[in-house]
């Protein structure tokens, strides 16, 4: 029963990470690849590759793009539609606007990114708590799993945009003691709506991952649900939880950016992306700045989760051994 529901649950990175060992077959081509073994070098090389592809298409592609019938399959190559990569980079170091004393663009993007990261982090934490509680309930009681898990899967087909105005209007009416509901809280709630899902599914799989032998052993020791949870199920779930947390972080970032747009929350990257899109005709390199910011935001979130992963290394020995 649990096996069928586990396969029905979409958990992309939440599958245990048995990445098959890279076969030891020595190939001559591997020489060039071994240079790429260093991750930073590979990252720089891939950024250069994408940049070159962009410029190459700009240089060689048809000026009006590739039209198939009414659909423009490939974009136009004009500087307006596709600014040069170096223009995008240079634009970062010019002032945000023509106004006197305007800060450089990169610092504005950085500030907006930090604001979004903070909101996304709150959403991530909230999603983490909700997801873990759901997973625990589903592990504890079989009927809860069979009733809740399909709805959890279903919940992710609800476009969160739709919830944004609702959450905001509910929040506006909410006042808990001295705490006034702030608009950023709505954004965090929406981000958590996306973040809880991978946590719930991944955590459930992790909690169910101990083998029969381990379960028998705990039973033989007369260990109840709590001791079994603390000493067996929680530690065993770490390898499943970490990819889920990474996914949840990515989802929280997406959720925060989109919800900022949907609720009209100023100060973050989402709003900046929409505002700067208006400059695409007059200042075509400007809209790219918050996009780079969003990329940095996503990478920062992933990096923070990776840090968390290294601190839990001892629970991932089998991954490392594989």
């Amino acid at each position: 029963m649990s096996a069928t529901s586990a396969t029905a649950a979409p958990a992309p990175a939440t599958a245990p990470p048995p990445t098959a060992p890279r076969s030891g077959s020595a190939r001559p081509r591997a020489a060039a690849a071994s240079l790429m073994r260093s991750a930073p070098l590979a990252a720089v090389a891939s950024v250069l590759a994408v940049g070159s592809a962009w410029e190459a298409y700009k240089l060689l592609g048809p000026a009006d793009g590739l039209m198939v019938g009414q659909t423009r399959l490939l974009p136009r190559t004009s500087d307006l539609a596709m600014p040069h990569t170096w223009d995008m980079a240079a634009r970062l170091f010019e002032p945000v606007s023509g106004g006197a004393g305007a800060p450089p663009l990169w610092s504005a993007v950085l500030r907006a990114g930090a604001a979004s990261l903070g909101v996304a982090a709150v959403g991530w934490l909230l999603g983490l708590v909700v997801g873990m509680l759901l997973a625990l309930a589903m592990q504890r009681v079989r009927i809860v799993e069979s009733a809740v898990l399909p709805l959890v899967v279903l919940s992710q087909t609800v476009p969160l945009v739709a919830l944004a105005p609702l959450v905001r209007s509910w929040g506006a009416r909410l006042e808990v003691g001295p705490v006034q509901w702030a608009p950023w809280m709505s954004v965090a709630v929406i981000a958590s709506y996306l973040a809880f899902f991978p946590v719930a599914v991944g955590m459930l799989r992790g909690l169910q991952s101990p083998t029969t032998i381990h379960a028998d052993l705990m039973r033989a020791y007369g260990a109840g649900w709590w001791p079994t949870l603390l000493r067996l199920r929680l530690p065993a779930s770490v390898p499943y939880l970490l990819p889920a947390l990474r996914l949840a972080a990515a989802n929280a970032v997406v959720g925060a950016v989109v919800a900022e747009v949907a609720t009209g929350l100023p100060g973050g990257l989402g709003r900046m992306i929409v505002e700067f899109a208006a400059f695409s005709a007059s200042d075509p390199a400007k809209p790219w700045a918050p996009i780079f910011g969003a990329v940095a935001l996503g990478l920062a979130a992933a990096g923070l989760v990776a840090l968390l992963g290294t601190s839990l290394r001892r629970f991932r020995r089998l991954e490392a051994a594989r």
Binding site: A220, Y221, G222
Partner: protein, 268 residues
């Protein structure tokens, strides 16, 4: 003195209707304190089921199982026995020492006491130098020795072992059998030992319980009369003893008695 294990008229039936399987049919068995008893038989004879019933990992459909005079469930909750399986089943995120300490920690023993006991046990199984290693850094045989140390952690008077050496190579296997005998002589624990190897059963046991499948029943109980006390200096000498081969022949005869060759191939 109460028997370590007394199984009385036990049957275990799985499923219902046409899908019904009788794993054990009216089995009775007594294991005296300090006695080493092996359960042997072809696959499907219910020897593992019987062990699981004694451990209260499963419950009989009919009959009673008592461990040191108490119902199996009470005995389990009172940590009356130690258990080891075919797979070592060590927790990969715990060091060797922490794995051995696990049952002690669950029983609420203090840190210092646990530490001392674990050191003693690891010395007993010859792994004192590996206490701070993680399971994945050990060979299969070493992992199994850790599992045995873990089973001995609470100084149980009863050890339940389900083919603990089944997945090991012959050399390691013999080595661990000898060590197990030595440990049992020291701790005076009773042992219920499931195996599909005739020499292993004979070498280790005071009594070999031969079982037959479909439905699982006890066919015969073969007493073993190896002079273990006389060979205490070098137990391995027993392996070339003439009595050893006679006993093996006796168990083999009991196992194959009335069984066609085709059925016997299912042995193991």
């Amino acid at each position: 003195m109460t028997a370590a294990v007394s199984v009385d008229g036990v049957s275990r039936v799985y499923g219902t209707g046409r899908a019904q399987v009788v794993a054990l049919d009216d089995v009775s068995l007594t294991v005296e304190a300090g006695q080493f008893v092996s359960l042997i038989g072809p696959s499907g004879c219910g020897k593992s089921t019987l062990l699981r019933l004694i451990a209260d990992l499963d419950e009989p459909t009919v009959g009673t199982v008592r461990v040191f005079g108490r119902p199996a469930r009470e005995a389990r909750l009172a940590h009356e026995y130690g258990i080891a399986f075919q797979q070592a089943g060590l927790l990969p995120w715990r060091t060797v020492r922490a794995n051995v300490e696990l049952p002690l920690a669950l029983a609420g023993m203090g840190r210092a006491g646990r530490r001392e006991r674990a050191s003693h046990l690891l010395a007993l199984v010859g792994l004192a130098d590996f206490a701070e290693h993680f399971p994945d850094q050990l060979s299969g045989g070493m992992q199994q020795r850790v599992a045995i140390a873990r089973a001995l952690a609470e100084e149980p008077s009863l050890l339940l072992m389900d083919e603990p050496f089944g997945a090991l190579d012959e050399m390691t296997r013999e080595h661990l059998q000898t060590q197990l005998l030595r440990i049992c002589a020291e701790t005076r624990a009773a042992v219920v030992f499931v195996t599909h190897s005739i020499p292993e059963a004979v070498f280790l046991s005071d009594r070999v319980v031969v079982m037959s499948p479909r439905p699982g029943r006890i066919r015969e109980v073969v007493p073993v009369t190896l002079d273990r006390a006389g060979a205490a200096d070098d137990l391995d000498e027993l392996r070339t003893d003439a009595t050893f081969f006679d006993e093996i022949a006796a168990v083999r005869a009991a196992l194959l008695d009335g069984v066609s060759v085709a059925q016997a191939e299912g042995l193991g």
